[in-house]
């Protein structure tokens, strides 16, 4: 239920990216498992070079019900992202991530200007008021980007020549122990490639109590 809401926009993006590449015949199917639980791991972002460069676009990382929506936003390089506030509280969105440190001071509604993400990498977002708000923007220069589904499987097509010199795939998951960068894996052919990967991820956090850090701190006083 939650994942559906989060990933709605992403699904459309992936669909848009994937359509012109259907003529290629190399099929890759990666199956992710959580190392600690042994269960399929959904939400693993997998990007790969399919020979095309994605074109910049605009995207939106909204704050809704004191959470970033979507939780993980995958955007092509140079995409401009707007941060609309749909809560009745103010937010202070910021990031120390190297690809794009940002700091949008307290605001309500629409911030003054959308922000362009010109460097690839993982940008982690937070709200200085609401510590529990966490969101990620994956900035990629690859056209092929997909996410593992609830079954932990991420499946995509690549051109045949992709295998030359090894197929480099970037994988990332918000619960990676070091989730500030992607992990690189090299896949070997021939197609279709089916590989099972077990990721050492941090355990899923317990559901929020609903109280944010500052509130909690006041309460602790």
């Amino acid at each position: 239920m939650l994942s559906n809401g989060h990933f709605g926009l992403l699904a459309a993006f992936i669909l848009a990216l994937g359509t012109p590449l259907q003529s290629f015949a190399g099929s890759v199917s990666l199956e992710f498992y959580d190392q600690s639980t042994g269960k399929p791991l959904p939400g693993v972002v997998v990007t790969a070079d399919n020979g095309m460069t994605p074109s910049p676009a605009t995207a939106e990382m909204a704050q809704q019900q004191r959470a970033f929506a979507p939780h993980v936003l995958i955007i092509p390089q140079d995409t401009t992202v707007s941060f609309p506030n749909r809560d009745n509280t103010q937010h202070h969105v910021y990031s120390f991530s190297k690809p794009k440190p940002l700091n949008i001071e307290l605001y309500a509604g629409q911030p003054e200007a959308p922000i362009r993400f010109d460097k690839t990498g993982i940008v982690e977002l937070g709200c200085n008021i609401h510590d529990n708000m966490q969101g990620f923007i994956v900035v990629t220069d690859k056209s092929q980007a997909s996410r593992s589904g609830d079954d932990g499987i991420s499946q995509f097509e690549l051109p045949d020549d992709s295998l030359e010199g090894g197929l480099n795939v970037e994988i990332w998951h918000p619960r990676l122990r070091n989730n500030t960068t992607s992990q690189f894996i090299t896949l070997t052919g021939p197609f279709p490639i089916t590989q099972t990967l077990t990721l050492d991820v941090m355990p899923e956090k317990a559901p929020r109590s609903g109280l944010e850090g500052l509130q909690k701190r006041f309460r602790d006083l």
Partner: protein, 775 residues
């Protein structure tokens, strides 16, 4: 009382002892408990500090500015934040590292970019979000906490820590009341990291004690009980907090307690003691005072009766003692007075006078001692009664006292003897004083309505010339008084030498018994010759004493002394036995002569004399008429009654009795007629100069005639020349004795004399013839 005191003492000491016993026995248990509590507190403190650190770190970790400084690698800012935080939280150590463990900033002066020293701890923090541990680093132990600093896109780790330093050890030590030592062990090696003890206290002994520590067991050293608390153990060594319970300090409270207990006991004892003393004072002190008082009375000291503040029996006792003291004093005074005063006259007595004399002698005082006696006092007593005599003495005493100077000592030293000590130097003033005394004392007096003239005689001794001891005074005064009684003016000065005679007499009296035994006493015999036939018929036995030192002693003298000293019987016995022996010898030699023996006046009072003579002269039975006993005229007259009886007894023995020294006494012819005598012995004073004294011739001739008329024979002694012999022979005198015939001689010479005399006998009868013819 003492029992009360001792029970208090025993109880107090017992209680104190039991309590002390438990206190010390519990020492280890208490120490263990204390250390266990201390362990809990130490852990709690460390945990609290961790919590404090966490909350401190959270504030920092959540600080947006800090995070952005980290994100932008603004090292100066980060370092300042660390320093600021470190100062605020009191952490000595602060380091910031990135997610890969590379130092971003630190306060320890490490080079940034190098790895965080606490890799293991970081790993566990990365594992579980944060980590807290005690680690040792650079020879120090730190309580280190590593927390993540997380921001969107920011992963860094903040390590902060408190050093386990001396201050912290002291802090825990203060909280727990122990000493705290932080120690690190690696392998077998121990290392002191920090300590609440001063460095010098960590001596070798204590360190070796630490090495014995094994786990959580309690170890006791001389000074400490030690408990080890393991703070961390790992491959790189272990860190312990050693908790030391100071035995002395732990016991200090017990000592304090013991001291208090001791004080309590002492206080109890003191109070008990005070009570005892107070009670003793209340009860015992008066008793003691009275006892001392009584003792003082006993010793005759002059004391005041104790001032008692009690009543009842003690007061009664005190009063009784006081009365006793007064009576004793009075009695003592009286006794003392009586001791030195004469009853009758109240004058000082002999003792007082002698005491005064001693002073005179010791001070060589000059003066005269005058002894005064009532003349004929004995007669006075006998005729007028003793009470009259006492009155007379009293009168004389008072009169004399009245005339004597005040400063002169005057006392009554005997029944009829007064002594005055006169500090007069010259004899003339003495004589005038004595004259005055006499004139006053001899004034006519009336005693018991009887007028009387009292006469005194006085003896004077010049001091210190005439006597230098009390004894001498006594003896010489007595002698001189005896002389004074018969002196013309009833006064006599001591004559030097008089006393020596007396002493000689004393010596003779003393030596007499020995003389009898030692042969110094012997017999002489003087022949008596019958006038008519000029035959040797009898000897007069004469006792002689040749004293080994004093020489020849006059028989009259020592016989008188023997009489006076009561030794005359022994002497007479000796004489009788000796004569009996000597006569026996003569008889053996064919000398058949009689013996005349002198008897003293005292012999005539001896009723056993006749028996004694009878016994001694057993061999003479049948011719007892050869024994003649000569008795002086005065002796017969002195005690005529007994003497006559004794003489009768003698006469009945058959012996002859002769009146010796006839003509010197006052015996009347009437008395002489009464006596049972056979013979008169004309005193030699009539015979010695018979030839030239016509009066003597008349007396002797008529005495011979008278004696013959009374049927008595007559002996003449003292015949020293032929004239006397011839006259007496012519008058018909019976027996002759004298130097003309023969001197007294020893027994053994008699035989020889007798032979010689035989040759003279014819002459004497011839002379008689010639005399007759010439007449």
């Amino acid at each position: 009382m003492l029992a009360m005191l001792s029970s208090v003492v025993i109880t107090s000491i017992s209680i104190a002892g039991v309590m002390m016993f438990y206190l010390f026995e519990e020492e280890e248990t208490r120490a263990a408990k204390q250390l266990s509590i201390a362990e809990g507190i130490a852990m709690e403190v460390i945990d609290r500090r961790t919590e404090l650190l966490i909350s401190n770190l959270r504030i920092v970790a959540d600080d947006f500015g800090f995070k952005s400084a980290i994100a932008t690698r603004d090292t100066p800012t980060i370092t300042s934040v660390l320093a600021n935080h470190s100062a605020r939280a009191g952490t000595g150590l602060a380091m910031l590292a990135d997610n890969s463990g590379t130092l971003i900033a630190n306060l320890q002066g490490l080079e940034n970019g190098t790895p965080l020293p606490f890799a293991n701890l970081l790993a566990s923090a990365q594992e579980s979000g944060s980590a807290a541990e005690i680690v040792s680093w650079q020879n120090r132990a730190y309580q280190i906490l590593i927390v993540p600093i997380q921001g969107p896109g920011l992963r860094a780790w903040l390590a902060a820590g408190f050093p386990l330093n001396n201050a912290f050890a002291e802090f825990i030590g203060d909280l727990t009341g122990t000493q705290v030592v932080f120690e690190r062990r690696q392998g077998g090696e121990a290392m002191i990291l920090a300590s609440s003890l001063p460095q010098r206290a960590l001596d070798q002994e204590l360190l070796s004690q630490f090495n014995k520590l094994n786990g959580a067991e309690l170890v006791d050293s001389n000074r400490y009980f030690i408990q080890s608390l393991n703070l961390k153990s790992g491959s790189d060594g272990s860190i312990h907090a050693l908790l030391l319970s100071d035995r002395a300090k732990a016991l200090e409270t017990y000592y304090q307690l013991a001291l208090e207990m001791l004080l309590l006991v002492l206080t109890a004892l003191f109070i008990a003691g005070v009570l005892v003393v107070l009670t003793a004072r209340a009860l015992g002190r008066p008793v003691l005072q009275l006892a001392n008082f009584a003792a003082a009375i006993g010793e005759g000291r002059s004391v005041q009766p104790p001032d008692l503040r009690t009543g009842g029996e003690l007061r009664t006792l005190s009063k009784a003692l006081n009365d006793m003291l007064l009576r004793i004093r009075e009695r003592e005074h009286r006794i003392r007075h009586d001791a030195i005063h004469d009853d009758l006259s109240g004058l000082p007595n002999r003792k007082a006078i002698e005491s005064e004399l001693r002073d005179w002698f010791s001070e060589h005082r000059k003066g005269y001692l005058v002894g005064i006696s009532l003349t004929d006092f004995k007669a006075l007593n006998e005729t007028l009664g003793y009470s009259f005599g006492d009155q007379a003495l009293l009168a004389i005493g008072l009169r004399l006292r009245g005339q004597l100077p005040i400063n002169c000592i005057f006392g009554r030293t005997g029944g009829n003897e007064f002594i005055a000590l006169l500090p007069v130097e010259d004899e003339s003033s003495l004589r005038s004083l004595l004259a005055r005394l006499r004139s006053h004392a001899e004034l006519p007096a009336v005693i018991s309505d009887t007028p009387i003239n009292l006469k005194l005689h006085m003896a004077i001794l010049e001091l210190p010339a005439d006597a230098s001891t009390s004894d001498e005074v006594r003896r010489r005064l007595s002698l001189t008084l005896g002389r004074a009684a018969h002196a013309e003016n009833h006064m006599a000065f001591y004559r030097p030498g008089g006393d020596e005679d007396h002493l000689k007499e004393l010596r003779l009296i003393r030596d007499l018994p020995n003389a009898l035994n030692d042969g110094h006493m012997y017999m002489n015999y003087q022949p008596k010759v019958r006038f008519g036939s000029a035959t040797f018929t009898q000897v007069e036995a004469l006792i002689r004493w040749r004293h080994p030192e004093l020489g020849f002693i006059n028989p009259e003298e020592f016989i008188r002394l023997a009489e006076r000293s009561g030794q005359i019987q022994e002497l007479t016995g000796f004489i009788l036995r000796r004569i009996a022996r000597d006569t026996a010898d003569w008889h053996k030699n064919g000398l058949d002569i009689g013996v005349a023996i002198n008897l003293s006046a005292l012999d005539l009072t001896n009723r056993n004399l006749a028996d004694e003579i009878h016994t001694v002269f057993k061999g003479w039975h049948g011719r007892m008429n050869k024994l003649t006993f000569e008795i002086t005229e005065s002796a017969v007259m002195a005690d005529a009654g007994v003497a006559t009886q004794v003489l009768e007894q003698l006469r009945s023995l058959g012996v002859r009795l002769s009146v010796d020294d006839f003509g010197t006494g006052y015996s009347s012819l009437a008395q002489l007629r009464q006596l049972p005598v056979h013979e008169l012995k004309i005193d030699k004073s009539f015979v010695l100069n018979l030839g030239s004294q016509p009066q003597d011739q008349l007396i002797v001739k008529s005495t011979i005639d008278m004696a013959h008329g009374l049927g008595l024979s007559v002996v003449a002694e003292g015949i020293e020349n032929v004239e006397s012999w011839q006259l007496l022979q012519g008058w018909g005198c019976d027996l002759a004795q004298g130097f003309f015939l023969g001197r007294p001689m020893v027994s053994t010479d008699l035989t020889a004399w007798a032979q010689t005399f035989e040759t003279r006998a014819a002459e004497l009868t011839v002379e008689q013839a010639s005399a007759n013819s010439s007449t």
